[in-house]
Symmetry: C2
Subunit: 335 residues, 2 copies
């Protein structure tokens, strides 16, 4: 293992000078710097980030905290895309990523403790129960935190334009002649509130009266709750002509349930999802949905987190990322 001392020796200078040359300090003559860089390369010198971190107190590591209820973990379709964005942006800026967990090696520890052990510079939080005390503890700590899909006065956050998403989707359905629209919605968090607000707003603008039974409570990305919600609708006297589901997977489970009851989609009933994941393109009929710009969300989260780290500013920002209507074949004009 080659250290700066080896390089220093080879150059006939001190380790301090080598360190400076390697880190582009201005107070090194061009000549010395060049020599040092050359020798360092020659000797195959690789800086030891652990050692550097110890003296600078900066690890160039950002933590990612993600815990989902459905235990799909990293395979979670939404999260994996966001993560990819976080990673790309972090990499570009010279940061590595560390997953934050409780319970490392059989030792229970809080998320904050994990961060402190590793001396993580900042954290991106997503898809979690934000109310959990351990998460709050982390958000209240000195570590820069960026949340995804969470609303709070004290935290920087990145979100999709959920309001506009459902608003546009609903408008689209109405433009197809649908008036009797049901919205099967996910569990009650800020994101969901925004979506419901979008739903109501669209109805209102089009002069369609809203009533509570247009909303059916369900959950995100879980099979059974969406099947059940669909059955609730099927059990009613009068069927809606269109149904919005909390997400694309839910929409597909919904479609399968509707079909099992002898209904055709979209001929008998139109269906739309939310998220715009690949699977929506593969099923038939191709799903009408709202595409979230997940990659952008991840990148923005990463960027914001790093900015907070580097400027050491405590200011928090809320960034809304645009969404896109993807008209598919699971919806059609009402006859």
């Amino acid at each position: 293992m080659v250290t700066i001392y080896d390089v220093a020796q080879a150059c006939g200078c001190s380790s301090a000078t080598v360190s400076k040359a390697l880190n582009n300090y201005p107070d090194v003559s061009a000549k010395t710097r060049e020599k040092i860089l050359k020798k360092a390369k020659e000797l195959g010198f690789v800086p030891n980030l652990q050692a550097r971190a110890l003296s600078t107190n900066k690890t160039w590591n950002i933590g990612v905290l993600f815990e989902d209820k459905s235990h799909s973990g990293l395979t979670h379709y939404f999260f994996s895309q966001v993560l990819q964005g976080v990673k790309e942006q972090a990499e570009e800026m010279g940061y590595d990523i560390t997953f934050i967990s409780k319970n490392l090696g059989g030792v229970e520890m809080s998320y904050l403790e994990h961060c402190n052990r590793r001396k993580i510079d900042g954290v991106v939080i997503a898809c979690i129960e934000f109310d959990e005390p351990m998460v709050q503890e982390l958000m209240d700590s000195d570590i820069p935190v960026v949340a995804i899909d969470y609303y709070s006065e004290h935290i920087s956050a990145i979100m999709s334009d959920n309001f506009r998403g459902v608003y546009e989707l609903t408008k689209y359905l109405i433009s197809l002649g649908h008036k009797d629209i049901n919205y099967v919605f996910g569990h009650e968090v800020y994101v969901t509130e925004e979506r419901i607000r979008g739903f109501k707003k669209a109805l209102e603008e089009e002069g369609i009266p809203f009533s509570d039974d247009m909303l059916i409570k369900s959950k995100y990305s879980e099979k059974q709750p969406n099947i059940d919600a669909t059955k609730v609708i099927l059990g009613r006297d009068k069927l809606p002509s269109a149904i919005l589901y909390p997400d694309d997977y839910s929409a597909i489970w919904g479609i399968n349930t509707l079909r099992a009851h002898g209904l055709r989609v979209p001929e008998d009933i139109s269906v739309a999802g939310f998220d715009g994941v690949e699977i929506g393109e593969l099923v038939s009929p191709r799903l009408t949905t709202i595409k979230q710009n997940t990659s952008r969300m991840g990148k923005q989260a990463s960027l914001k987190c790093i900015q907070m780290i580097e400027s050491k500013s405590d200011d928090f920002t809320r960034i809304t990322v645009g969404v896109e209507l993807i008209p598919g074949k699971s919806t059609m004009a009402k006859k």
Copy 2:
């Protein structure tokens, strides 16, 4: 920030004793240990892993190297599942995960250099062009490496039982009365060879003569090559009664292509995939496929890697993980 010195002072002992107590060394009296543990907790002491790493030369970090050609990155359906397994197992054993990349912060560096900078203890490699010089360099280094889906004399590896997978799938089709079976296969790596071997073996055992035109070259998880391969089949004088695709996504693209040409699946032609990802269950007809135990693969890779780290043994092992036939509705008995 509380250090062992603070704890030592509070306990009226030396930092060395604190360190020993904290690390469960035997040569500390039960009484002192207890006192130290209590004080440490009281003061909110959290060990600094950077510092520890510097003196022990062990980071408790394992690297994950993954680079896919299709740029789906972490969202890659197969990889994300494997990664989840790697992560779970690593966590359980007290290790964190770091993604290895070239090009950190605009600085080009080899994978090996990235590992060396971070002083990664070991690496799991998956879904990569194993022939690339930079990957070879890493595999030839002193760092413990475990590969997934790669065959080499000098490297520990985890693989699915690819041979058996296609073997059983083919047997299953034959048992349904199919004799005219085509195999659209992915790009030519060891995994693919094994699968083709399984295909041939099954035919042979059932006395069905093999001919080269039963094999159609395509690619894994890429849309166009599989559409093209399907068109090649469709262009022939005589259609097969069943087609095997390289993976589930490819199978779905295949089905869509067949349908676009007026064929019904499975009535006119049976189709099977490989991988057993969730999407196969969601499309209709539900896909007949081989389920790879991805989670297990990840866990095994992680485990093996950690074992290599901890025993410092250079021995390499090859572990084959079993697969499972999932009969779906995309295949049916030949009429």
